[in-house]
């Protein structure tokens, strides 16, 4: 039995190019305000990595007509709020009581239109230091925290913007200048490069009126040109990274199709059937039956310019990465040769349907309905893609999943990273090149 699942909406584009999308849900008297700017670390250049994210911090420090912190008037209104930056986009959101929608829109529109007069050298330098602390806390001072940096810089050529992390290099962050802020704002932060969603306890006509009222007279800008970058791998590259860890971990990464491209959904399903839950193939082999690994994970990291598929497993004490590596290859060969079983496909479909239903539970926040509408709108130009997105999974077949695994998860085009304790170099896979990241 298939449940009908959908995410209805209305979309209009203001005269200055701002997309406005409205979704009504009156169960709780709250409204989600969600804005995406189509800019992320993919728009940076070498030597200035981390800028998009630092800029996101400055968006919370005040704008011309509210020239102080962004948080107090909204927290006082009962809002929860946040923002985030990834390779492809920067998002900002508030979830406010219905009574505070005007205030949230006033604040968001003020920083979209009038940020620069409020950006002072002092605020800039403080946030630069806050970001350096964020980097220490979430990457440098965390076990395996630098692994992804080593992987992405091996997957992509140095001029490809996915070769660096969104957090950026510490050296680049320290070198950033206040002057860079202005050009960045003018290029990327304007109505034609943004998309606004209002979701929740609000009538559609009123939502559009408010959007026009607060954002309608902001200056239009020129939509930036799409970033073009390509990457390819022609061999297996083995790397080793020494870290402050107790147990070695192996990462295997492949380049894979971009978000929403053919085989992207299939690789999501491959990730699930390899490593999601005790029934998954690698969990069952590595952790449950042979007990040579503590954990195993697989994920298709879907991105706009191209994705990567990442497998990771931590060795159980006394067991070698080589053993895990061999077992993973055996399983990948089997999957590429014979594909998933009917039972695995049924299970995957049941999980996909439930996951899409779970995605309809909240109007706001990261991953809520407003965030999803913006994702579809910004990345595909179609906020109505929710049902079609689920269909990508419903329409996947035994054959399409098998061929995606065979085509993309190849031994001869991948990056294999061993992360090992500092004093035990022998724990790495043989013939691995030492890398250091900072």
């Amino acid at each position: 039995m298939m449940t009908s699942i959908d995410l209805p909406f209305t979309k209009r584009t203001l005269g200055n190019g701002l997309d406005v999308i409205v979704h009504e849900d009156h169960h709780v008297p709250i409204v989600a305000v969600n804005i995406w700017y189509h800019v992320g670390s993919k728009n940076e250049r070498p030597g200035r990595t981390g800028f998009a994210h630092l800029f996101e911090h400055l968006m919370f420090e005040g704008s011309e007509h509210h020239n102080k912190g962004f948080f107090p008037p909204l927290q006082q209104a009962g809002a929860s709020l946040n923002g985030s930056t990834n390779t492809d986009r920067t998002n900002y959101w508030e979830v406010v009581p219905t009574s505070a929608v005007d205030r949230a829109l006033w604040m968001e529109s003020d920083r979209m239109g009038y940020l620069l007069p409020a950006v002072t050298r002092e605020r800039f330098e403080t946030q630069r230091d806050v970001v350096l602390n964020e980097r220490r806390q979430n990457y440098e001072n965390r076990p395996y925290g630098m692994a992804i940096m080593a992987i992405t810089s091996a997957l992509y050529p140095p001029d490809h913007p996915y070769s660096w992390m969104t957090i950026g290099s510490a050296e680049d962050i320290r070198a950033m200048q206040l002057e860079d802020v202005q050009a960045f704002f003018r290029t990327y932060y304007h109505p034609a490069n943004a998309s606004l969603v209002l979701a929740g306890d609000i009538e559609t006509p009123r939502a559009f009126d408010l959007a026009e009222q607060y954002f309608g007279d902001l200056q239009p800008g020129t939509r930036p040109l799409p970033v073009v970058a390509t990457a390819s791998l022609a061999r297996e590259q083995r790397l080793v990274l020494q870290d402050r860890v107790e147990l070695p971990r192996i990462y295997i990464a492949w380049l894979s199709p971009a978000m929403f491209a053919p085989d992207d959904a299939e690789l999501d399903l491959v990730a699930d059937l390899l490593a999601n839950g005790k029934t998954s193939r690698l969990y069952k082999t590595l952790v449950y039956d042979r007990r040579i690994a503590l954990d195993v994970s697989a994920h298709q990291h879907s991105r706009e310019l191209g994705s990567f598929f990442l497998l990771a497993a931590t060795a159980a004490p006394g067991h070698s990465l080589a053993d895990i590596y061999a077992e993973i290859d055996t399983e990948l060969d089997r999957l590429s040769a014979t594909g998933p079983s009917d039972s695995e496909m049924e299970r995957a479909l049941a999980q996909a349907e439930a996951q899409f239903m779970y995605r309809l539970q909240t109007v706001g926040g990261f991953g809520g309905k407003s965030d999803q509408l913006n994702a579809y709108n910004v990345l595909l130009g179609d906020p109505g893609f929710f049902a079609a997105d689920l269909d990508r999974y419903r329409l996947a077949t035994h054959a399409s999943v098998r061929s995606a695994a065979a085509r993309y998860l190849r031994r001869e085009a991948r990056v294999v990273l061993s992360v090992i304790p500092r004093d035990q170099p022998a724990l790495a896979l043989t013939a691995s090149d030492k890398v250091s990241v900072s």
Partner: protein
């Protein structure tokens, strides 16, 4: 209609009306307390089984036992192996979760409404009749031992472990649920089976079902799955330890302690002391006090440590609530070079609130409205609602609690905040724990006036 007055912020309108979920209580013939709530926004159902006895039920030599029992619950039941259980869960798209907290263990399952009966029945089989096989036990225990090893690399985990020990010493609240290497090695399958038999009984559990069905159907789901649960296989059960009934030691912990982590890029900090119980009538003023001191982004401590001094990505305070005396704690991860300054500033803010800088009227309004105006968003999903109601059962709070929350917070005045800050915060007694580069910060710590640090082993 374009154009907007940018000379001032729009006012916030009157609070929208919100009806809190109606909780209906039932008692099954076997004594199981059931609470049902109709939550109709999406065809989903959440089932929460809350069982008395979390990590606080662990005896001193078996720390980690309650968490192992919780882990064994999805390791097979009846004819189903651990793999079969995982498969059955996946086939209903189930979102299964277990949380071992100091006073209770909470099992939660969310699934599509059409799988309500199947999901409830699976959860019942797992929790009330786990297979408890030796091979699964050995694997589960080994995974936990290995996990403990990994946690040694994770500064927040090291800090949490050490801080609880400093706060509670050998009291049953003094350990993290995963326990210690020594204790885990002492635990046997018999221990796990015995704790399960003693603890998992209808009279010691509360079942909350929230979903897109009428109360009577939700009750029928509960009855169908849990109605036969008797656990009368044993005549008598050993008493399960109740941590909240045991008073913590009066011996004061050291003022300053450090777990050395040479070369660490940051210092992980915990600053606090035992303070209040969750069911104190002073709960609303304590919430308001915490909100303005360190409980939200615009609190004094975060604004000072992050936005003014840039010592950290973020600092916050809060109560680690439990039934018994609970810690008030500040946590932050700060740049190694700023460690001593961050500690001094953090303690300075707590002292300030109790002394020279009582809350201003503006701060008080901000703290209160942030709590009250945002309150309804805690009732958006079936899972949020079910977990909130389980909390009412945990702390023995009335079903009218949600409706009374906003008026009670609104009634908090400046003098209440000052009074509870005076009564429940004692900066001169707080313990500061640092997980960080000892040799790099040793000299600067001596300026704090907290004495010589106790150096703790990482596996404390």
């Amino acid at each position: 209609m374009s154009g907007v007055d940018r000379s001032r912020l729009p006012e916030v309108g009157p609070d929208p009306a919100f009806t809190f979920p109606e909780i209906v209580r039932h008692t099954l013939p076997n004594g199981l307390q059931v609470r049902t709530v109709e939550h109709t926004s999406i065809p989903l159902i959440t089932i929460v089984l809350q069982v008395e006895g979390g990590s606080g039920a662990d005896t001193a030599d078996k720390e980690g036992l309650a968490a192992i029992v919780a882990d064994m619950v999805d390791e097979g039941t009846g004819a189903l192996s651990a793999i079969d259980v995982s498969d059955a869960m996946a086939r209903i798209g189930g979102d299964y979760d277990v949380d071992v907290s100091p006073d209770v263990t909470v099992f939660s399952l969310t699934t599509l409404t059409r799988f309500a009966a199947r999901g409830a029945s699976l959860l019942s089989d797992m929790t009330t009749r786990p297979s408890m096989r030796e091979t699964d036990f050995v694997r589960v225990r080994q995974l936990r031992l290995d996990r403990l090893k990994q946690l040694k690399d994770l500064p927040p985990a090291v800090a949490e472990r050490a801080f609880l020990r400093l706060m509670y010493a050998q009291h049953p609240y003094g350990h993290v649920p995963i326990g210690s290497d020594d204790a885990l090695r002492r635990i046997s399958l018999d221990d796990a089976s015995a704790l399960h038999a003693a603890s998992f009984r209808p009279s010691r559990a509360t079942l909350v079902i929230t979903g897109a069905l009428p109360h009577q159907e939700l009750l029928a789901v509960a009855n169908g799955a849990f109605g036969e649960w008797t656990n009368d296989g044993r005549v008598s059960h050993p008493e399960v330890q109740r941590a909240s009934a045991i008073e913590p030691s009066e011996v004061a912990p050291p003022r300053l302690a450090i777990v050395a982590r040479e070369g660490a890029a940051q210092s992980e900090l915990r600053i606090g002391h035992l303070s209040a119980r969750r069911n104190t009538p002073d709960y609303p003023p304590l919430l308001v006090m915490n909100a303005l001191l360190g409980g939200q982004f615009v609190s004094r401590i975060n604004l000072k440590l992050r936005e003014e001094k840039a010592y950290t990505y973020g600092a916050r305070t809060g109560f680690d609530w439990r039934r018994g005396l609970s810690p008030f704690v500040l946590q932050a991860s700060v740049h190694t070079a700023s460690t001593a300054n961050a500690i001094a500033d953090a303690i300075g803010e707590i002292e300030g609130l109790r002394g020279s800088r009582p809350p201003t009227a503006e701060e008080l309004v901000l703290a209160k409205t942030s709590l009250t105006r945002g309150y309804p968003r805690n009732f958006e999903t079936a899972q949020q609602v079910a977990r909130s109601i389980a909390q009412l059962a945990l702390y023995d709070l009335p079903d009218t609690y949600f409706a009374e929350f906003v008026p009670k917070v609104n009634a908090v005045g400046e003098d209440d905040v000052t009074r509870v800050a005076e009564r429940y915060l004692a900066p001169e007694k707080m313990t500061t724990l640092i997980v960080g580069d000892h040799s790099a910060i040793a000299d600067s710590l001596s300026t704090l006036g907290l004495g010589t640090p106790s150096v703790l082993p990482p596996e404390l």
